[in-house]
């Protein structure tokens, strides 16, 4: 929004500057266009196939992430979103490893398929080998008419952190009738959640990885606050979504700058 706005508080200083023959300035809204990270012009369809979820069992990271990304893509991208069953990728990897272990007795299986063992952040890396399986993804691509495939890992787990936190200590009114808000700094233990989505974009025509990105988001709450895990998950995903969407479509960052005369 183009605007000529000078804060009233600054008007006195501005008037002084103008009186002194100073150059004036204009605050203006700009929208910086950010090009998409990926060229998806050759795709008409996108398949969010599934994720390998790790960490807390409080949230089904695979199901929730698929549901959320599909709905975001439906409303905010040009691609047709394929509605398909969510692939249990973790079980597929476990099954493969079990087969491999049976063939080679020295190989370590990651666990039984369907077993609800929590996968740690480090263990997730062992599962990532599936993303490099070109033949597997090409086969899925053929099944769904060569879409852009979105997959990856999603680690979501509770965390605790200790540190100095600034808190408001209540309001008071001073002798001039002005409202004052006091702050105190206190050492606190806080709990929260960490979310580490690693998204992999695969070309369904060739089965090769086009692009992948990983971020870490954390949120902390007061110990006394009882925030449901699912609510924290959505709060954290909300921070990550602009970056995800920018992989497929251009985004605009709104801001203000000052034009000078």
């Amino acid at each position: 929004m183009t605007a000529f706005r000078v804060a009233p508080a600054a008007s006195l200083a501005l008037a002084a500057l103008l009186a002194a023959g100073c150059t004036s300035f204009y605050e203006i809204g700009i929208e910086t266009p950010i090009q998409p990270k990926l060229d998806v012009s050759s795709f008409q369809r996108v398949l969010v196939v599934g994720f390998i979820g790790g960490g807390s069992g409080e949230v089904d990271a695979n199901m929730e992430t698929v549901r959320l990304l599909r709905s975001q893509l439906r409303s905010r991208s040009q691609l047709n979103v394929i509605e398909a069953e969510v692939a249990p990728l973790a079980d597929i990897v476990k099954q493969r490893q079990a087969e491999k272990a049976a063939a080679e007795p020295t190989a370590q299986p990651a666990g039984e398929p369907g077993e609800s063992k929590m996968i740690s952040e480090q263990e997730l890396q062992e599962y990532e080998q599936i993303f490099a399986d070109v033949a597997y993804w090409k086969k899925i691509g053929e099944e769904y008419q060569s879409p852009l495939i979105v997959t990856g890992t999603v680690y979501f787990a509770p965390i605790t952190r200790s540190g100095i936190v600034e808190l408001t200590s209540g309001e008071s009114v001073d002798a001039f009738g002005r409202r004052q808000v006091g702050t105190v700094r206190r050492w606190m233990d806080r709990k929260g959640y960490a979310l580490v989505p690693k998204l992999v974009f695969i070309d369904g025509r060739t089965g090769t990885t086009l692009y992948s990105e990983s971020v870490r988001e954390e949120i902390l709450y007061d110990q006394s606050q009882n925030t449901p895990a699912l609510s924290a998950y959505f709060e954290l995903m909300d921070r990550y979504l602009p970056s995800f969407l920018n992989a497929l479509s251009s985004q605009r960052i709104r801001g203000t700058r000052v034009l000078i005369k």
Binding site: T2, A9, A20, I28, T32, V258, L259, I260
Partner: protein
């Protein structure tokens, strides 16, 4: 926002007293440098028009005007600052970076320019990391 504009205003006043700004003011005042004064006047007129069209979201025209101003008087920092903003709005990040750097070089103590550049740098650095530029 109000605080930012106030601080920018005050720092601009300080910047006027800075050596760079002083030099420009002295130059604009003439002291026998008629050609410089003319160039500055022409550049200022282009900048003023550029601002008008930028406020109407006519950014292409604004780019043209600010380019003209910077070309006419390459020592006029506002022209480079405004040109950088117009480039940024158009997604021309490399040119925006160069123009901001030129503006900062000409008026290193101008906090308005610094503030614009800092905000731009946040985006530019992130994009540079992504593309390995």
């Amino acid at each position: 926002m109000r605080k930012r504009v106030l601080s920018a205003c005050l720092t601009a006043a300080i910047a006027l007293g800075a050596p760079g700004a002083g030099t420009l003011t002295a130059r604009a005042a003439g002291a026998g440098i008629g050609a410089d004064q003319d160039a500055r006047s022409v550049a200022k007129a282009q900048v003023e028009f550029g601002i008008e069209v930028a406020r109407k979201k006519l950014w292409r025209e604004a780019v043209y005007r600010f380019e003209k101003a910077a070309e006419t008087d390459p020592t006029y920092a506002p022209a480079w600052n405004n040109l950088a903003i117009a480039y940024e709005q158009q997604g021309n990040f490399n040119d925006a970076n160069k123009a901001y750097m030129k503006a900062v070089e000409l008026e290193p103590n101008n906090m308005l320019i610094r503030q614009n550049y800092d905000l731009f740098k946040e985006i530019y650095d992130r994009l540079s990391r992504r593309t390995g530029r």
